[in-house]
């Protein structure tokens, strides 16, 4: 009976994974398409479209924009989140609870709503659509995550370390930069990488808040509006590759050092 169950389980998993990977496989396969349309039959392999995409300044520019927006907004989110987590860890009363609730609130709101809110605000305040606007939007969505992760790491151990450092005469900023930050560096790195990954792939807020200079997902979107195009396959495969790289880096950062994450 157990053997039979194993067989069914295996088959089911196979079909499920097949379904999950089907689009990925087709995407990557037809990125090497030689002819005009990324549809069967496969007339490859050819690096023609990779060449076109990587040579297209719109795309390379958008990629750079994505990286810049990602890195900057993630850094801001991590910094703000770290300081707030450190401060909140010492506020165990109702005020602390209220602040924590406020900082975590954006997690429960759809990106569409956050984006729309910023559109209305910026429109009223006269802030033009720009990469800066997107950067702000990405900090809004990533700050709660960074805060949550870093707050969960602010254990009593950290408080004790901090007390010991202060006892030895360190001033507040020294405690932060020389004691707490180094101890928490895996969590800091993990938050940063997570924010970067989310920002890098984020479409909706970027779509709403940019016009000319834009990020990669929006640029891809524009391309897609004009129909099926192997360039999209190529860029998709590139994005996939870069994302996997970032995940691998994060893995090494977190699990390589064997941190305890609760």
């Amino acid at each position: 009976m157990n053997r039979f169950l194993d067989l069914i389980a295996g088959l089911y998993a196979l079909v499920a994974y097949g379904f999950i990977y089907l689009p990925i496989v087709v995407l990557v396969l037809f990125s090497f398409q030689a002819s005009r349309f990324p549809l069967p039959p496969f007339t490859g392999p050819s690096l023609r479209w990779y060449g076109e995409v990587l040579g297209d300044s719109k795309f390379t520019g958008a990629m750079v924009n994505s990286v810049v927006v990602g890195v900057v907004s993630s850094a801001v989110a991590v910094l703000l989140g770290f300081l707030a987590a450190y401060g909140c860890a010492r506020m165990r009363d109702r005020l602390g609870g209220a602040i924590r609730a406020l900082l975590i609130a954006p997690l429960s709101v759809s990106y569409l709503i956050i984006g729309m809110g910023l559109v209305v605000l910026f429109n009223w305040a006269g802030v033009p659509k720009s990469l800066l606007a997107v950067g702000i939007g990405h900090v809004v969505i990533n700050l709660p995550l960074c805060f949550a992760i870093l707050y969960s790491q602010m254990s009593d151990n950290i408080i004790r370390l901090e007390q010991a450092a202060r006892d030895l005469g360190a001033r507040e900023w020294q405690v932060l930069s020389l004691v707490v930050a180094p101890v928490l560096w895996p969590a800091l790195l993990a938050s940063f990488v997570l924010s970067l990954t989310l920002s890098w792939d984020e479409f909706l807020i970027a779509f709403l808040l940019t016009r000319f200079e834009t990020t990669l997902p929006v640029e891809i979107w524009t391309l897609l509006r004009s129909g099926l195009n192997p360039k999209a396959n190529a860029i998709g495969a590139v994005v996939f590759g870069v994302s996997i790289l970032m995940v691998v880096l994060a893995e090494l950062a977190i699990f390589g050092k064997g941190t305890k994450k609760s």
């Binding site: 689009p23 707030a84 401060g87 759809s110 709503i113 910023l118 209305v120 939007g137 479409f203 996939f240």
Partner: protein
């Protein structure tokens, strides 16, 4: 450590994050609410009235709800057994690898992933080609630009998400529960129905809620795969900004969506409280 020492240290530490959130999250929400009540040069309920009187607008909300509920349902039904297989049948050594495999496709660009379904479901796409070649059909199916395509696109994404949440729940279950059930005379099926299933319900509900919120607010998948015959709420909202530049109406529609999400949250609140027994 009762009452906090509110000194300038605290303000410097917590202040920036709080200020930022207040300015770029709270204020926009308020601004949106205010904007939604603007119309005809002053405060009015015009936008909401507009929504309630336009059948196509109501239709969009109904479409959104229908699609989202169907997607959530299918995803749960497909993901549960997969999570079970991962948690129970895969040997311990391969657990991490199998988990990685399950979430790897998350790392393709969301836009591109939806697009790749368009590729698959297009008239001359892989699926139709395969069906024609195998002789099951003699005419290609209209798959792209339909609600079916939207549903498939969503389900593809949410299976991965739900497998994760349900899998995490499974892993967290103490093996003693199953031993105790067997010890007391329960068969495999009885153990599953009376012990395992109820105890994995939190994982299902968390995943389902996440899927609901993400799906109902998604613009990319319905726009790419669903075509323009049928609009969902996000498409309707974006439409107001684009062509018609009617921000107040868009704001009102967004708020209506937020209310729907809040209702869903209240319904699932029991399971979303992270209480450990």
């Amino acid at each position: 450590m009762t009452g906090s020492k509110i000194n300038w240290h605290m303000v410097l530490l917590v202040g920036p994050a709080v200020l930022f959130t207040a300015l770029f999250f709270l204020v926009p929400l308020i601004a949106m609410a205010v904007a939604s009540f603007t119309g005809g040069g002053g405060l009015s309920l015009d936008n909401y009235r507009h929504f309630l009187t336009q059948p196509s607008y109501i239709r969009a909300l109904v479409n959104s709800l229908e699609v989202t509920l169907v997607v959530t349902g299918i995803s749960v039904v497909v993901a549960y057994p997969l999570a079970w297989v991962l948690a129970e049948r895969v040997p311990e050594r391969w657990q991490r690898v199998a988990l990685m495999l399950t979430i790897l496709p998350f790392w393709t660009s969301y836009v591109v992933r939806s697009y790749s379904w368009l590729l698959l479901l297009a008239e001359r796409g892989v699926v139709n080609r395969a069906l024609l070649a195998s002789g099951l059909l003699d005419q290609p199916l209209q798959l792209a630009n339909t609600r079916t395509a939207t549903v498939i696109g969503f389900v593809h994404f949410f299976i991965m998400l739900l497998t994760l949440t349900i899998y995490a729940n499974f892993r967290q279950l103490s093996p003693s529960y199953r031993k105790a059930a067997a010890d007391l005379g329960a068969s495999g099926l009885q153990t599953f129905l009376h012990v395992v299933l109820p105890l994995t319900l939190p994982g299902i509900m968390v995943g389902a809620f996440l899927a609901f919120v993400l799906a109902i607010g998604d613009y990319v998948t319905p726009q790419l795969l669903g075509g323009s015959n049928e609009l969902l709420m996000p498409q309707l909202i974006i439409q107001q900004i684009g062509r018609r530049a009617d921000l107040p109406l868009a704001a009102a529609l967004s708020l209506i969506l937020m209310i729907v999400i809040s209702i869903a949250y209240l319904a699932c609140a029991r399971w979303l409280k992270l209480e450990r027994t």
